[in-house]
Amino acid sequence: MISEKGIGEPILEADAISLAFGGVQALQGVSLNIRRHEILAIIGPNGAGKTSLLNVINGFYHPQRGTLRWKGAVRRRMRPHDAAAQGIARTFQNVALFRGMSTLDNIMTGRLLRMRRGLFWQAIYTGPAEREELEHRAYVERLIDFLEIEAIRKVPVGQLAYGLQKRVELARALAMEPELLLLDEPMAGMNVEEKEDMCRFILDVNDEFGTTIALIEHDMGVVMDISDRVAVLDYGRKIADGAPDAVRADPAVIAAYLGEER
């Protein structure tokens, strides 16, 4: 199964990353690889540093120590939009969409980085700008079809149920055609049915678009079902990293989740 999927070389290598906010050590010497085409789950108790790690990866935080390599090249200090331009997209723990805009427009914003025509051409909307817009719209329509959100295409996202908003956010991230997709708790607050749908979409995205996915998730059932590999963080340190079954049986992981026996 794994070999069939063709999980390849690491596209992102984090080496001994440390990040502190004042006296709080969010990450302490975390090393983690994300391999091309895999689904990596990052788990850990609350405050373990999972979101901080995602923020480091997409350039929102800059680690005090450690290096990040993106496709083999060491990454310098950068901003989130640089990470986006390199092909890293993400969704957020709390949905971060433009609430007053329609589903379609929200997803179109994901294409902004790929639009070549400047403000002038866009404003007069003719010739090349029109052609470009149509191409982007066509791509976005493929995503709408893929994520089965045709019925809400024109609905302002503020009116949508939470589960659907999460789906729209996923669509917007996919609109960037990312190589690496970071999902911060894509299933938080969903009911069983919505979770099942979301699992299927994540697997299908990985399968059809070949996107590498790193996700943070608390639902262990989901994690064990869909991920190829699981990394466990606890108090800012990585305490385990491996196949889901191996991680589940790891005493250090059990201790971190259930508390140590005294």
Binding site: R142, E150, A151, E193, E196
Partner: protein, 679 residues
């Protein structure tokens, strides 16, 4: 005999011109080729995909069907083979029907929401060798039951998504099949023309499995002659042309959908459009603006419920305008539609209302261009029916069934009444047996139930009369009235008539009641189980700041119970107005803790209640309704969406309802009632 009637289709637009006696257009593939020659460029099929209406002309459809047929042939599809077709309404699935027919095979559409168990029965019983599945969901179901269907050899899927890692050798992608078909067709020119020419009107065109309210589904075998003659008569009756627009959104396995979106489209040459997805039907309806529309009463009911909910949330002025002009429409609308005289004052007001309310409303609903809308499948509430007619929409009732290729009766323009289904259409003979059951004889009468001679003999007399199983009578106006299923019509213990469906339909006309099941046969009085409409009652609760977390919680709410009691009391007042039914007013009711569901076998796939199953399953509740208890406990098994089963427990409140006094005075202008028979 049927051949003559098939021949009479030929003067129809498109169907007949330029054909000689030797080459009658008596099968759908022949009609398709004819359209491809006569109107190659006009649209035959549309589908909204990737946000745009994609369309195919008749010539393109013919090419697609040819390629698919050749691909099937290359895979070994032979004359007489069955092709199961499983999925939502998609052009490719329609082409598959024509492709199978072109090769002399028989398409067997299957309800796409069937659970694996039901699907296994149909595929096995029909001895299906080939199956076309829309997507992974359907493929997974087929794989799960493959072993129980020994005849099934080849499965073709249309949407490859998620199927990349499936390795079964008998799975084929639609694109590949069509590709191979093109190569095959290139190598053997004109093979298809020969295959098509070998078909004739007496051949089996399709087998449709009826959901049936009892027992196993039965495969209704219909010939080309059955379908073409019936559809053509109806087209002529209504003056429909090749310019109609139809939206195909009801299950393809249902005869109604098949007649409107395939048979009549091929007979008349009009364009059929497929919605983007099941969830976008209302939006697509609005964009398309069909001219010819068919929907079971539930759909019209859902539309009305949505309108009413939205109006209750609307601003004060809009709400007042809506209510006022709805009153005007109620007074004048239906009469104006039928060309009866209307007071000048009302006429003017109606025009104004059309400008301010009806026009925009119809436009929003996608009903502006409707020339003819049918409702059938179940009786429609008179208020619901008249609502649409009063807006100027020519909504009519028809009567028919799978066994009759649909059309038996259609209401004539200008003679439309809410409680009749119209007179029989030309070519149809109808009679009512002594026990009240309606029988018919027509060119559309089915051939047989597939591999079920016993059931065929039971339904079809040797002289061609077919039992409908419906109880009805002819009024003095020559129009048929259907009361109920013949076997469901019963009597209260004191002897008066009890027609449960009639009562249920009245109950369901309330926007707050989604389903109702009435009991009373051989009992002292009538009672009912009620399902609330989650959307409408939820909205009602929201406006009263009632918190609820689930259907069960909302259904159990005290105030909701009062609301439903109010609805039932209204129905009782209605029933009291009809002397024969006044005794079956609802005395007690309860609100069920769960929605009745086809997956639990409580409804048929076309959402008709299975009264007997429900009575057995909820026997303890039924007992409590008649025991005088004020509450009842229930434990029931439910099937979740993912197929798992679980137990549901609940304590349900039982409520008494006030019955209305029976109005004794006879309405004027009606003949005096016969003296009541002494029992």
């Amino acid at each position: 005999m049927t051949r003559d009637i098939a021949a009479s289709t030929q003067p129809l637009p498109g169907a007949g011109a330029g054909t000689s006696e030797r080459h009658p257009l008596d099968t759908f593939p022949k009609l398709l080729l004819q359209h491809a020659r006569q109107r190659p460029g006009s649209a035959a099929m549309r589908e909204k995909d990737y946000g745009i209406w994609q369309s195919w002309s008749w010539a393109e459809v013919a090419a697609e069907v040819e390629a698919l047929a050749a691909g099937l042939k290359a895979l070994g599809f032979a004359r007489g083979d069955k092709l199961a077709i499983i999925g939502d309404n998609r052009p490719r699935l329609y082409w598959a029907i024509a492709a199978a027919q072109a090769l002399g095979g028989v398409p067997v559409p299957v309800y796409q929401d069937s659970i694996a168990e039901e699907m296994a029965y149909v595929l096995d019983h029909a001895e299906v060798r080939f199956a076309l599945a829309e997507d992974q969901e359907q493929v997974d179901k087929i794989l799960a039951i493959k072993e129980r269907c020994p005849h099934l050899e080849t499965v073709i899927y249309s949407d490859p998504r998620g199927l990349r890692h499936y390795r079964q050798p008998y799975l084929h992608a639609y694109e590949r099949v069509v590709e191979q078909g093109r190569a095959f067709a290139a190598a053997q020119r004109d093979f298809l023309a020969a295959e098509i020419a070998a078909g004739s009107g007496a051949d089996t065109a399709i087998i449709l499995y009826t959901s049936g309210t009892t027992g196993r589904p039965k495969g209704v075998v219909l010939s080309y002659d059955n379908l073409i003659s019936t559809a053509a008569t109806a087209l002529e009756f209504e003056g429909l042309s090749d310019r109609e627009e139809v939206l195909s959104y009801l299950p393809m396995a249902w005869i109604g959908e098949h007649i409107f979106s395939y048979v009549q489209a091929y007979c008349a040459g009009f364009c059929v459009s497929c919605p983007e997805s099941g969830a976008t039907v209302m939006q697509d309806l609005r964009e398309l603006g069909p001219t010819y529309l068919f929907a079971p009463p539930q759909i019209f009911e859902r539309i009305l419920t949505q309108v009413m909910i939205r109006m209750e949330d609307a601003a004060w002025l809009k709400r007042r305008l809506f209510q006022y002009f709805l009153g005007v429409a109620k007074r004048a609308g239906a009469a104006m539609l039928e060309g009866r005289p209307v007071a000048l004052h009302d006429r003017a007001l109606y025009r104004l209302g059309n400008l301010l309310v009806y026009g925009p409303l119809k436009n929003t609903l996608g009903l502006s261009r409707v020339r003819i809308a049918y409702t059938a499948g179940e009786a429609i509430g008179p208020d619901l029916f008249l609502f649409y007619r009063s807006l100027g929409i020519n909504l009519k009732q028809l009567y028919g069934m799978t066994e009759s290729s649909v059309f038996l009766c259609i209401q004539k323009d200008g003679e439309v009444k809410p409680d009749t289904v119209g007179p029989p259409i030309p070519g149809v003979e109808l009679r009512v047996a002594e026990d009240g059951e309606v029988l018919f004889r027509s060119p559309g009468a089915f051939q047989s139930y597939y591999k079920n001679a016993e059931a065929t003999a039971e339904a079809k007399e040797p002289d061609g009369w077919v039992h409908t199983g419906d109880a009805g009578f002819f009024g003095t106006d020559g129009q048929l009235r259907i009361i109920d299923r013949a076997r469901d019509v019963g009597h209260l213990a004191e002897g008066s008539l009890f027609a449960p469906k009639f009562i249920e339909n009245k109950l369901k006309f309330s926007p707050y009641i989604k389903e109702a099941v009435a009991f009373g046969d051989q009992r002292d009085f009538a009672t009912a189980f009620v399902n609330i409409d989650l959307e409408a009652v939820g909205n009602w609760a929201e406006r009263r700041s009632l918190a609820y977390g689930s259907y069960q919680e909302l259904a159990g709410n005290e105030l909701v119970g009062d609301l439903i009691r109010g609805c039932i009391e209204e129905v009782n007042r209605d029933l009291a107005a009809e002397p024969t039914l006044a005794a079956s007013q609802i005395r007690r009711f309860l609100i069920l803790h769960k929605e009745l569901d086809a997956d639990d076998g409580e409804l048929t796939r076309t959402r008709k209640v299975r009264r007997r199953t429900i009575a057995e399953r909820y026997a303890s509740l039924l007992e409590a309704l008649y025991s005088g208890a004020d509450s009842a406990r229930i434990e029931s098994e439910v099937t979740f969406e993912d197929g798992r089963k679980g137990m549901m427990r609940a304590e349900l409140a039982i409520r008494d309802v006030v019955t209305a006094p029976v109005r004794r005075e006879t309405p004027p202008r009606l003949p005096a009632e016969p003296v009541e028979a002494v029992a």
